[in-house]
């Protein structure tokens, strides 16, 4: 049963991810992307990572894709003309893609591939957890525990990166003239 579900949801995820790239209508693409995210959340569920599954739906399907859809609809992207890539781009993309696939195949199946390790036992609740030894659990509490002990530094750095990106977007999207001020806007009715 679990095997069957795994293949079902993998097929759903991969197929809809593929359809994102080939669909001409931008809204169709966005909808397939949501489907792909939901499929991935189902795969997380099969791995007993319920917390990750919920976050996948909440953050990506629920929030990020709404913004995508918002932009797609607002700009009416259907009417944008499709640009045909020139020959050099096609050749470069093909070569790059093939190299990526063969590299992945080599790493996975080649002589130097990492041996597949045994799956760790999954417990309901960590009992003897220390910062070095965090067991695999289904409880969301253990995610928090891991984030605030062993992975504290990466966690903080990631947060800092997001902050930088956010400030960068604000700076780039705000038009500032030579004197360093914002250009005077047209008068808008006061709210």
């Amino acid at each position: 049963m679990a095997d069957f579900l795994f293949f079902l949801f993998s097929a759903l995820t991969v197929l809809s991810a593929f359809l994102v790239t080939v669909s001409r209508n931008a809204v169709n693409g966005a909808m397939f992307m949501i489907l792909s995210f939901v499929g991935m959340a189902c795969l997380f569920l099969l791995l007993e990572a319920y917390f990750l599954a919920a976050l996948q739906v909440l953050v990506y399907a629920g929030a990020v894709m709404v913004l995508f859809l918002f932009i797609v609809m607002l700009l009416d992207a259907d009417k944008a003309r499709s640009v045909r890539p020139d020959r050099l781009t096609i050749v470069a993309a093909t070569v790059g893609g093939l190299m990526l696939i063969s590299g992945l195949a080599y790493v996975t199946f080649g002589p130097s591939a990492a041996p597949s390790t045994e799956l760790p036992a999954i417990t309901e609740m960590p009992q003897n957890a220390t910062a070095e030894n965090i067991p695999f659990t289904t409880a969301s509490r253990s995610f928090g525990y891991g984030l605030f002990t062993k992975y504290m530094l990466p966690f903080q750095v990631t947060g800092f990166l997001l902050l930088i990106a956010m400030i960068g977007v604000i700076v780039l999207s705000k038009k500032i003239d030579a004197s360093g001020d914002e250009p005077a806007k047209q008068k808008v009715a006061k709210s």
């Binding site: 809204v27 909808m31 949501i34 319920y50 917390f51 919920a54 976050l55 739906v57 909440l58 399907a61 629920g62 929030a63 709404v66 913004l67 859809l69 918002f70 609809m73 607002l74 609740m125 960590p126 009992q127 003897n128 957890a129 220390t130 289904t138 409880a139 969301s140 509490r141 253990s142 525990y145 709210s191």
Partner: protein, 387 residues
């Protein structure tokens, strides 16, 4: 194999029961809405619809008719048998898909909603379809998918006003989701803090942690922020931007008729009922009878259901919970017929400039308060996952 089959059959029956109760609550809150509206406006409201057989009963029948109790049935039949037009200019696939997308997430969230409790020996257990660790996240996640019904519906209708409705709702929902998620954090800190077990984010744990005091009483600001965000998420007045019939005709469902409109309509009310239930669980102690202030001898006050036999305590706790929930459904209606609609820029200002910073301040403040409480009173009882 037989026991497995029996297990599945029992679960299906439970699930159908849940669906039946929530759907009839949704249907009858439509009637409730019309009755409350007429009450507030000094009218009578629906009082004519009658079933031939039952309404002929001498005294009871006319009384039921006067209450309008058959009106939802008539409405449902009307939605089913009206002509179902498919306008020529719409995107057919998404036009038909949107009502389903609007209804399904609202109903899916009921899976993790505990509605009462029963005793299994000495252990208190929730009456729930799936008691998962991530309850509240599950509800937030599927609640956030509800916006697609409106956005896709507005876009697929392919005309100006529905389009405006869809665009407005996507911006509004993202804004208020943020405030909503953050206003829950103090509740979760408390539920996993000083006085409870290791039950993570499950809603049952949150109810159990409120036996001493309902969180809405000493966390009024997060409760208020959550309530306001809930109104915005369910698109109810004063936040019904996607619909706002004075500016946008009917908003996102202008082009919809018949049963497709009925699905949107029922979806909105189901969302409302479940939202009220979640508010009751988070801030009003769920099915706890009254707060017992943490005094051991007063424990019967917060949890009288545990003292009764299961056949009595279980149903009573569910009924008490539904009663609390219905009060908030009533509050939804009261607000709708009392407050005027916000302007769109006011909606955005309120969301981003007041609710989000307010929720952030609340998180920090309550984290400090609960931390101090933890140090002062409960440090030796605090469950630790580190030995």
């Amino acid at each position: 194999m037989d026991s497995l089959l029996l297990d599945i059959v029992i679960k299906v029956i439970f699930a159908l029961l849940f669906v039946a109760v929530i759907m009839s609550l949704a249907a009858y809150s439509v009637l409730g809405e019309r009755k409350v509206a007429s009450w507030i406006q000094g009218r009578v409201g629906p009082n004519r619809t009658a079933l031939p057989g039952i309404s002929a009963i001498p005294v009871l029948g006319p009384q039921l008719v006067k209450l309008g109790i058959w009106q939802p049935l008539a409405d449902g039949v009307k939605f089913l048998f009206k002509e179902d037009p498919l306008p020529g200019h719409v995107n057919k696939l998404y036009y038909c898909l949107a009502p389903c997308i609007a209804l399904v997430p609202a109903l899916t969230t009921m899976v993790v909603l505990p509605v009462g409790q029963y005793m299994d020996g000495d252990v208190v257990k929730p009456i729930i379809l799936a008691n998962v660790d991530i309850g509240i996240l599950f509800i937030l996640a599927f609640g956030s998918l509800g916006v697609y019904g409106i956005v896709i519906g507005g876009w697929a209708a392919n005309s100006k006003y529905p389009y405006f409705g869809g665009i407005r709702s996507s911006a509004q929902m993202i804004s208020y989701e943020l405030a909503m998620g953050m206003s829950i954090l103090p509740v979760l800190i408390w539920a996993n803090g000083p006085n409870s077990g290791l039950a993570g984010l499950s809603l049952f744990n949150i109810v159990e942690s409120q036996q001493g005091m309902w969180l809405g009483v000493w966390m009024p600001i997060p409760a208020f922020i959550f309530l306001v965000s809930l109104y915005a998420e369910t698109n109810r007045l004063p936040f019904d931007m996607p619909e706002s019939e004075t500016e946008l005709v009917g908003g996102f469902h202008t082009e919809y008729g018949s049963f497709k409109f009925g699905l949107f309509f029922v979806g909105e009310y189901a969302h409302m009922v479940i939202g009220s239930a979640v508010f009751t669980i988070l801030f009003l102690g769920g099915w706890n009878f009254l707060p017992d202030f943490g005094i051991e001898s007063l424990h019967w006050l917060s949890d009288p259901w545990a003292l009764m036999p299961n056949w009595l305590g279980g149903p009573l706790s569910v009924i008490y919970f539904i009663g609390k929930t219905l009060f908030f459904v009533f509050l939804f209606m009261w607000v709708r017929w009392t407050l005027p609609r916000f302007r769109y820029d006011q909606v955005m200002t309120l969301g981003w400039k007041y609710l989000v910073p307010g929720a952030l301040i609340c998180v920090v403040a309550y984290a400090i308060i609960i931390g101090l409480w933890d140090i002062a009173f409960a440090i030796d009882q605090t469950p630790a996952i580190v030995e």
